[in-house]
Amino acid sequence: MSFQPVKFYQTGTFTVGNRLLAPDERSVQANQQRSNAINSGHRACQGCGEALGARYAIDAAMAASGGKLIAANATGCLEVFSTPYPESSWQLPWIHSLFGNAAAVATGIAAALKVKGRQDVRVVAQGGDGGTTDIGFGCLSGMFERNDDVLYICYDNQGYMNTGVQRSSATPPAARTATTMPLGPEPGNVFGQGKNVPEIAMAHGIPYVATATVADLRDLEYKVNKAMSLHGARYLHVFVPCPLGWGTASHDTIRMARLAKETGMFPVFEAEHGEVTGVLKIRHRLPVEEYLKPQRRFAHLFGKQPHHETIARLQAIADRNIRKYGLLDEEGK
């Protein structure tokens, strides 16, 4: 059973908190005592989706583990902006080693805890899409295959933003990056499958795989909780818009995540042992232009001569997601 939104009580579970809900129905983020796992003073850009997504996810994991949590972090924005020597924003035991080995480090921590008989302490590994889908992919696949007791969280902002917005295997087709310039007959990133790590994780048959966005906090918290209630290898893929790399206004971060979900560009679902068990339905379906237009990385599609064909190919990707995951409810709204 996937996350069931409460639809009444004024804003139901759409907002972060709701004074009309019973205390046990409220979110971790609404709590004055939330752990603030990543504290103020970090150097993330204004409106950073990753800083927000990381706090949402780790606060929820801290709440689920009673504060007994260790994090291994891959290289990337999240690591760089949170821990410039000698400062740290992290309010939990946290380790950074290399770009590509976060999953392996977490595996080692989990193994050490097992040897020490510390069943009460839980382990998460986290990284951006570069450290997950490209550089750390081998270690990650190994962690899945061995079913190590780690929750791996990928914060997907669709590129290497920290080093100057280069393409990753999670960058969407047609998007402009420093390495996929809008030049030539097919401007921007190439059309292709990219690397769909949630589906690859499902192919490993691990206990739990889920996707989430920073626009649906309650769904994200539900998924972290669910993951923390299980043991073995678990994978959570969180969609975190990047104002810098995408060329969006800093106040539009959550709106962009909402539009990605509502257009079908980013399917929000969960799967157990390789099978999809639930999806977060689209509430008000929108055409992909609504999502693409506010982003400068897609601006070349909307110039004096709009690339209707390219937009149609992106719409086809969204339509395929909607079909494949059943993102519309029965009425087909």
């Binding site: 004024q10 609404a30 003073g41």
Partner: protein
């Protein structure tokens, strides 16, 4: 501290890094004026009382409501709810049923016997209120709360004014009116019935009053010349409705022609229907031009009231009248066509508006009367110092809600005048328009429809036509409020800040920004559902 090899600094917290210095614009909390409050002629804080109703605290909701309006059960029945016309939710699905929640709170207060909070300490001042209609009662209530001694002198046999002698029972049951009037009298307001003021200055002197509020209403039915034989019975609508309250019901015969297109015409026609007559409304213009509210016309038609649009009465004879058909000219004014028609009629009721009885003001210095109404300044004071006026006798829209608003406004100015001061209303907040909201966050929920009495009983009895909400659907309806422009503690700003720069102060205390760390990204502003935060440029 012993540091490991090659380590020269202690680990520190990022809290030393004050990222607030990056900011070029700062978010600030504010209260904007919800469109419902802005539209309410009685100046109710609608969003404010709905906030308490949302959590099921109906008594607190009622208490916030009556800070501005002492007659919620009446208002929840007879108000034409301009608040709902202005409601932002109408642009989302349908307006919030404010009027029905107000009635629920008013009825709940009567059922549970809630009393008004204690008044302020006595000021020793004494105010005369002339007329116990909605504006007089409202002024008396507010003046009493401020600690003044209030005496109401009412010419009629019962309190309520047009609420009793103009609005039929099927819209406002009298026990509801009586209960709300009694609650005001329980504050120590003295009501003298059958006391007509002949000369206001003499009465002020005789009673030792320091100020007066005049609210005598407009009770004289306007006449028009209709050539008629001796046998024709022509009466005015106000006296018909007034006599409905007495022992001797009006004798109008079976076929009754009501002349006019306002709410009073509709009220008379529906009253006639309930008495077993056959009412026909004759109005010279079209339905969309009629001053009556469309829902009242609709309800009248449902009950079998006949309406002849575009017609004027030319002549009234024995048992019949002659009407002339009209046609609208290019400017939208009705013009005679020369086409005539006869209608059977035992009597004709004129519902052409009302005039004010100004006899009590004769000889008062400084008073100005224009178009049959008393002119007042913005502080509701007439040209004569210490004599204020409101309701139907001053230039304004003639509704119960406007009258209640006049009473409150006048009370504030009278209070200030008695202390030798001038009342300055607090500045209005900027309006919370629909564009200021992020409506994504609100649940989809359609308006609750109030039950209507079945048609047969509507045609034959004076039972109340429109039913009320019960506790469950009143709660649902209250929770449809978007809380436009006013924080309702949804925690969105606290949640969506990537920098933990929002401090949650706890239930009822709202939030604060921590400007040491706020980078000014504006996410809190964009994701605030109700538009209670704005960005302000920093001085750089």
């Amino acid at each position: 501290m012993e540091k490991p090899f090659a380590i020269t600094l202690k680990p520190g917290s990022s809290l030393t890094n004050l990222t607030g210095t990056w900011r070029t614009a700062r978010p600030e909390y504010l209260d904007r004026l919800p469109p419902c409050n802005n539209a309410c002629p009685a100046g109710e804080n609608i969003q404010g009382w709905l906030f308490h109703a949302e959590s099921g605290d109906y008594e607190q909701a009622w208490r916030v409501l009556v800070e501005n309006n002492p007659l919620p059960a009446v208002m929840g029945r007879v108000c034409y709810h301009p608040c709902e016309s202005a409601c932002n939710r109408a642009q989302l699905d349908e307006a919030v049923g404010i009027n029905s929640v107000e009635r629920f709170l008013g009825d709940e207060a009567i059922k549970r016997g809630w009393k008004f909070a204690a008044s302020a300490a006595s000021t020793g001042k004494k105010v005369l209120v002339v007329g116990a209609g909605p504006s007089g009662l409202s002024a008396a209530y507010h003046l009493a709360r401020m600690g003044h001694r209030v005496e109401i002198h009412e010419a009629g046999p019962l309190a309520g004014g047009m609420m009793r002698f103009g609005i039929p029972k099927y819209r406002l049951p009298r026990e509801v009116l009586d209960a709300e009037v009694q609650r005001i009298l329980d504050m120590g307001v003295v009501l003298k019935l059958n006391t007509k003021i002949e000369n206001i200055e003499a009465s002020l002197r005789a009673g030792g009053f320091d100020a007066a509020f005049l609210a005598v209403g407009a009770h004289i039915g306007k006449r028009t010349y209709i050539p008629a034989g001796d046998a024709t019975r022509i009466v005015d609508a106000v006296s018909v409705l007034r006599s409905m309250e007495g022992e001797d019901k009006p004798m109008l015969g079976r076929r009754v022609v009501v002349y006019g297109g306002g709410n009073t015409a509709v009220d008379v026609a529906r009253t006639v229907k309930r008495m077993g007559g056959e009412p026909i409304i004759v109005y010279r213009r079209t339905r969309d031009k009629a001053p009556a509210h469309d829902f009242e016309i609709e309800e009248a038609l449902q009950e079998g009231v006949m309406i002849k649009w575009l017609s004027t009465i030319k002549q009234a004879g024995e048992g019949e009248i002659m009407v002339e058909k009209m046609a609208l000219d290019e400017a939208g004014y009705p013009q005679p066509t020369g086409e005539f028609e006869t209608l059977a009629a035992d009597s004709v009721v004129l519902a052409l508006g009302q005039d004010v009885d100004l006899s009590l003001l004769e000889g008062v210095a400084g008073l100005e009367v224009k178009n049959g109404v008393v002119q007042v300044c913005t502080n509701m004071m007439t040209g004569h110092p210490g004599i204020f006026a409101g309701g139907d006798m001053v230039p304004s829209e003639r509704t119960v809600t406007v009258a209640v608003g006049h009473g409150k406004k006048a009370a504030r100015h009278i209070d200030a005048w008695l202390r030798g001061e001038t009342y300055a209303p607090p500045p209005k907040h900027e309006l919370a328009e629909f564009g200021k909201l992020n409506t994504w966050y609100y649940s989809d929920a359609h308006k609750t429809v109030r039950p209507m009495l079945d048609l047969l009983r509507r045609k034959t009895s004076f039972d109340e036509v429109q039913g009320g909400l019960d506790e469950n659907n009143a709660l649902f309806e209250a929770r449809r409020c978007l809380s436009c422009g006013n924080c309702f503690e949804c925690d969105n700003c606290y949640g969506v800040c990537p920098d933990n720069a929002v401090i949650k102060l706890g239930p009822g205390k709202r939030f604060e920004f921590n400007y040491d760390y706020c980078k000014g990204c504006g996410l809190c502003v964009a994701e605030c559902p109700c538009g209670a935060i704005k960005m302000v440029a920093e001085d750089i």
